[in-house]
Amino acid sequence: MSVLVDISHRLGEFAIDARFESAGRLTALFGPSGSGKTTLINMIAGLIRPDKGRIAVDGRVLVDTSAGIFVPKHKRRIGMVFQDARLFPHMSVAGNLRYGRWFAPAAERYANMDAVVDLLGIGHLLDRRPAKLSGGEKQRVAIGRALLASPKLLLMDEPLASLDDARKAEILPYIERLRDETKLPIVYVSHSVAEVARLASDVVVMAQGKVAASGPTGAIMQRLDLLPAEERGEGGAVLDTKVLRHDEAFGMSVLGSAAGEIRVPRLAISVGAPVRIRIRARDVMVATEQPTGLSALNILPGIIVAVSPGEGPTVEVGIDCNGATVLARITEQSRHALSLQLGSKVFAVVKTVSFDRANTAAGLPAEAHG
């Protein structure tokens, strides 16, 4: 499964000139608002016709301006979940869900009503009207509606952007299940580091209509310079780990990672399950000796492999902890005082309480990267 996009397009003053190819299970199109990511996804869906270029999904050419190919949206078999849900107001939830069911050829109809309703937990809503649903419920129904059309690719355009934090937390697990329990590839537009770090297997970073970088989530999230200024504080290392054991006495879970054991607040998943954690650079302290008499529980030994200037008086330090890179944001003054430089042996210190719900999530199964 792969998505290839190579287009150039003009919208008044704004020019988009983007090329990327992704075979990931969930590819995030990430960038600040106005970077062109929604335009790009609309082109994949067939809602906007690019001036020039090619779009192919799984080898099937959907757009090729030089060959005069433009497959209309209703023949693309690409599901789309919009930021504003766009449920049909004159149909019940069940009517909305059933709408796309019969358009796919019988042999390619894989979605099953009961399974989708169950996956998204919307069984109790079927008889309701869209206007009577909460924002989170609407978005789940919209996801179900897109799935039931048996698409070959699912596009999600900032599906959480219009929801408050509680509603986001309500939907994120469903998107994780969708990613892990179906074989459907997903392209997910977002401007939130938290969402991308949690959900994506691959990331395409957009800036001013161009692709600034693309690659596996872990590698991209290290590059704090790629993050929009207002999201920089959210940046940091993304590690895929496993639950080793639970510490019931203190209400904690112990995760195994390449960097060593990491203690986080108790997770409601079983031992052995994959967990993805995000360690924000601003939450990491650096010590030159093994600290003692310190409340922080996670002390990871490593070697400094990168030092780059950050915003204002800060520097960003990359610490290779046995193959896993942890990022730390410290002041230039501290770096100077500790005389930190490439090759220095240090300890990365992370408080257990800095892992809140948004920073730990069901991890991607190992084969998630395409």
Binding site: A45, L47, F82, F88, P89, G100, R145
Partner: protein, 234 residues
């Protein structure tokens, strides 16, 4: 009450004929009304302003002028009238069908306006969403656009019906005032006012006119409210 309902056969015929003419005019206006409203709301083509003007002509011309133009084109010897009579056996002049045609045309701009407004209010993003689910444009129109403009269709239909019930000038010019054939309520009332001792009949038919028009208005309100509740648009 007896006095009100004690109508002569000719008067009853006028009532029945008016309802028939107005209903036929409304129903036959609906498909072209939707098509023209769609064109005006969404079409981008040369001559759109001209089309808009032509559609609105019956609203601004004196009804007698519209009637006379109909007589010229759809009369026995008019180009359209002769063609339709020869090939399809449809005759408009001095028939109730002609009255329906005149009424339909007079009410057409009102109907198109109402439908056009409701089409312009439709969120086109809904149609795009239906498209991504696999529905072709025709299916999208039938399952998304039409249901969403239902309130506009009801309003436009009632306006057309009410206009037809009251149409006088174009009808009498085009198809005259023949009892049992083209004598609608307004023509019958007019006839009563022209003869000595016709006041009673004129008053009776006037009251009946008011009752029918009010009933149509109330029916449309009830329908529109029911559609609105069913849709529950935020």
């Amino acid at each position: 009450m007896n006095w009100l309902l004690d109508l002569t056969p000719d008067e009853w015929n006028a009532v029945r004929l008016s309802i028939k003419v107005a209903t036929v005019a409304m129903l036959f206006s609906l498909p072209p009304g939707i098509a023209i409203a769609l064109l005006l709301a969404r079409g981008k083509f040369w001559g759109k302003t001209l089309l808009n003007g032509v559609v609105h002509l019956p609203l601004i011309l004196p009804p007698v002028v519209t009637g006379y133009l109909l007589l010229l084109t759809f009369g026995r010897r008019g180009p359209a009238g002769a063609f339709l009579a020869e090939h399809f056996g449809i005759v408009f002049s001095f028939r109730w069908t002609g009255a329906a045609l005149a009424c339909g045309i007079m009410g057409f701009p009102l109907m198109v306006r109402a439908i056009r407004l409701s089409i312009e209010a439709v969120d086109r993003k809904m149609e795009a969403a239906a498209g991504t689910l696999g529905a072709n444009p025709l299916f999208v129109f039938a399952t998304i656009t039409l249901p969403l403009i239902l309130p506009g269709l009801i309003a436009g239909s009632i306006l057309s019906f009410a206009k037809a019930m009251g149409e006088f000038g174009a009808t009498i010019t085009f198809v005259s005032n023949i009892p049992n054939e083209t004598q609608t309520l307004p023509s019958a009332i007019y006839t009563f006012t022209q003869v000595p001792g016709g006041d009673d009949g004129a008053l009776r038919l006037t009251l009946i006119s008011i009752v029918i028009s009010m009933a149509a208005l109330v029916a449309s309100e009830v329908l529109a409210r029911r559609v609105g509740r069913r849709m529950d648009i935020e």
